[in-house]
């Protein structure tokens, strides 16, 4: 079983042009933690969505703030925290996604949060000294035993 590793902390300007870098780092961290390429792509998507939420909602598009990402390989799971010091967004206020209603009402919001929830094993929000923290956890796949 792999042991925990020191966490990687990354501070990124609150601009959408940095989403590609966030995605690349997440994918690499996921693969280093033992996820396959497809799972790593999905984790990268979830972190992209969380970071986009920070830029668009917590910072309301302000480009001069910081997003702090913390990647923590805990051995059996990978935890990614996305923190900001902007406005707190209450996830309970994000509407549940009903695709057919979305289409008829021409709504487009809330899909990102829905995706995060579908990809990760848990998505929780809290406030601490760093500000608002979105904590996403994905359990690692069980390793196959070596063939006898």
């Amino acid at each position: 079983m792999s042991a925990s590793r020191p966490a990687l902390v990354l501070r990124v300007p609150s601009r959408t042009e940095y989403l590609a870098a966030i995605r690349d780092v997440t994918r690499r961290m996921a693969e280093a933690a033992g996820f396959d390429a497809a799972q790593a792509d999905q984790l990268a998507l979830a972190v992209d969505e969380a970071s986009t939420n920070v830029i668009e909602h917590a910072y309301r598009g302000a480009p001069d703030r910081l997003i702090e990402l913390r990647f923590d390989d805990r051995g059996g799971e990978l935890c990614v925290e996305v923190a900001d010091d902007g406005e707190a967004v209450d996830p309970r206020e994000v509407p549940q996604v009903d695709l057919r209603r979305y289409a008829s009402e021409r709504r487009t919001g809330g899909l990102g949060m829905h995706l995060m929830g579908r990809i990760m094993d848990s998505v929780t929000f809290r406030k601490n000294a760093r500000g608002n923290v979105c904590c996403m956890v994905k359990r690692k796949p069980l390793r196959r035993e070596a063939s006898r």
């Binding site: 959408t16 042009e17 989403l19 497809a38 792509d41 986009t52 695709l99 289409a103 899909l111």
Partner: protein
């Protein structure tokens, strides 16, 4: 670095869009703009041919959601083709496979507008 380009062409009244790269909050305006161009010209039969699409985030899915009702009200549809596994998985996770017809190839998507090629995933 250009993260997204979107080529387009028209074939027998069908607009074919070829996004190449990544669609997310940073690049989605370009994708939306190309869809809107088609709608502004009264063209409501659209195929998004995704062979060059590496990744799509909710912003891109929202762009499709934002116009699909208008497109279908006008007798058209947005159909998807040739999606790689990563992109296809994202559509499946969100349940978009029940809302959009997805075809293995661009040709099948085009033919579906002529009443043939029923191989795509029909909306439930």
């Amino acid at each position: 670095m250009t993260e997204l380009s979107v080529d387009s062409r028209e074939l027998e009244g069908i607009v074919l869009l070829y996004p190449r790269g990544f669609i997310n909050a940073h690049t989605v305006r370009l994708f939306e703009g190309e869809i809107q161009k088609a709608l502004d010209q009264g063209q409501y039969r659209i195929v998004v041919s995704g062979a060059g699409l590496k990744y799509i985030a909710s912003a891109g899915l929202g762009a499709l959601m934002g116009v699909i009702e208008e497109v279908r009200t006008n007798g058209g549809d947005i159909r998807l083709a040739d999606l790689n596994e990563t992109v296809r998985n994202i559509f499946d996770i969100l349940g978009f496979n029940h809302l959009y017809r997805i075809f293995p190839s661009e040709v099948e998507a085009i033919l579906s507008f002529r009443g043939g090629g029923e191989a795509g995933s029909p909306p439930a």
